[in-house]
Amino acid sequence: MLALNNVEVIYNDVILVLKGMSLEVPKGKIVALLGSNGAGKSTTLKAISGLLKPEDGEVTDGEIIFEGEKIHHLDAADIVRRGIFQVMEGRRVFEHLDVEQNLIAGSYTRKDRRNIRQDMEQVYTYFPRLRERRRQTAGYLSGGEQQMLAIGRALMARPKLMMLDEPSLGLAPLLVQEIFEIIQRINKEQGTTILLVEQNARLALEVADYAYIMENGRIVLEGEPATLKENADVREFYLGLNEVGKRKSYRDVKHYKRRKRWLS
């Protein structure tokens, strides 16, 4: 459905952030993209959704193909219209609009306006708490509710591919669990393909059908979650387990005695 081939992204004409990034998202699946801070995960999503331009970023090489067509030179609005919707990191709800107006903003590109009411009801069945708060100013919702609103807003666009940038950011574990369950439900019930960027590797590997691990602007490892969970490097650096499978102890002062094998 979506494929990135050797994508290179440069910010401000000098800073090379993605260095030959390739990945593939098959239709109907949940694909996770993992990696530490600054690996280029968010940049990858923005490259796909066309949001690089306001940040002075540019795809300088490679290609992004969605449903057989190159999309990396399109406007953000065109890309949304084709069915790719990014839920940005940090929720980014429209603070001064109420919940319902936020949802309407999400449906901006829809042509079949008659079904919008119905879709709003559907969002409310996924997130009953949003229904209670529907007239409230979004800026005053709790973090979890804002994340729900951000996902609900994405649903309003009826995307084929939903890209979620760290939906667990800053939320209590219980809420994270709830939100991930709903993401899985959306994937199953709506058939929405999902590309999930996460720092919380354990959780992401649980829900994903396939996962990529990113470092320094390129993919260093990929595979089925089950295989990745067995990988010694992943266990140590992403899941915080040592070789025996115990939790790593901070008494182990020589934290980095193990060298990542993919760093040549």
Binding site: L51, P54, D56, V80, F85, L97, I104, Y108, T109
Partner: protein, 290 residues
């Protein structure tokens, strides 16, 4: 008592014109977070274009005003295309500085065509007076009130219920997030600037009808600052109420304390408001979650 009534009516009608100009400010601020320092010059351009059509070419005033509105839309689109679009994503302060430059350019454009001396405006609003009790209000001021009221209602409904209106507010809230919804920020800005240019042009015509066409018309842009600060930069009801309050205040101080002071008092209010209620009476408070 008679004097009070007359002053009140004058204040209200001046206030209506202020509100009209303030609406343009609010519109642009709401959509793009930009304070448009060229708003007064939009008035000036509007007034002079109508003057050219009606006074110099002798077109009927309906046609003249209509053409002015068309040209105002065009001006708004041009400004968006060549001044603002290259600045999308840049810090707001740069955009605000650019509007100051735009203001000088528009002013220079007007004075290079029509010169700097003031001229009488062709009277086109039917000249009759309405008597309320012992007070007298001229027709052009009544038209100003009606126009302001109509625009207020239209804009309030537009921002609350229409998709474009909601998209405009969304864009003001968070440009990048709006972009990620597929909202075309360019289109939203073009829309906001055209509407603002049209309201400004209309206000310019009304002002010129009262004081004649000259550079002074642009000064209204500055006098409206206290109005938008008082009402809240992003509030349409605030613009209307602020306009009326400042209009009344100016009329009363002018009538009872001397006309020199009436120019100063609004700015004293501005300073007081900034100290007590920096977002204005109805402005959106910056939301901070703890």
């Amino acid at each position: 008592m008679e004097k009070f009534l007359q002053l009140t009516l004058t204040g209200l009608t001046n206030g209506a014109i202020f509100s009209l100009v303030a609406l343009g400010f609010v519109l642009i601020y709401k959509a793009s977070d930009v304070i448009n320092f060229a708003q007064g010059d939009f008035l000036l351009v509007g007034a002079y274009i109508t003057f050219a059509f009606v006074g110099q070419m002798g077109l009927p005033w309906t046609v003249g005003v209509f053409l002015t509105m068309v040209l105002a839309v065009l001006l708004g689109l041009l400004v968006e295309r060549f001044v603002l679009r290259p600045l999308i994503g840049e810090p707001i302060i740069s955009v605000i500085m650019v509007t100051i430059g735009l203001s000088s350019m528009l002013r220079a454009f007007v004075s290079s065509i029509w010169g700097t001396t003031g001229q009488p405006f062709p009277p086109f609003i039917p000249n009759f007076n309405v008597n309320i009790g012992t007070a007298v209000i001229p027709a052009d001021r009544i038209i100003a009130i009606i126009l302001a009221a109509i625009l207020l209602i239209i804009f309030t409904l537009f921002f609350r219920y229409s998709r474009e209106g909601i998209a405009m507010r969304a864009t003001a809230d968070d440009q990048q997030a709006a972009l990620s919804m597929g909202i075309s920020v360019k289109k939203i800005f073009a829309l906001a600037w055209s509407i603002a240019a049209v309201t400004a042009a209309l206000a310019g015509v009304l002002v010129a009808n009262i004081i004649g066409v000259s550079g002074v018309v642009a000064g209204i842009g500055l006098r409206v600052f206290p109005v938008v600060i008082l009402g809240g930069l992003d509030s349409i009801p605030g613009a209307i109420l602020g306009g009326i309050v400042i209009g009344l205040l100016e009329a009363y101080t002018g009538g009872y304390l001397g006309s020199g002071l009436s120019q100063v008092v609004p700015f004293i209010v501005l300073i007081l408001i900034l100290m007590v209620k920096p977002y204005g009476l109805f402005g959106e408070v910056r939301i901070e979650r703890v």
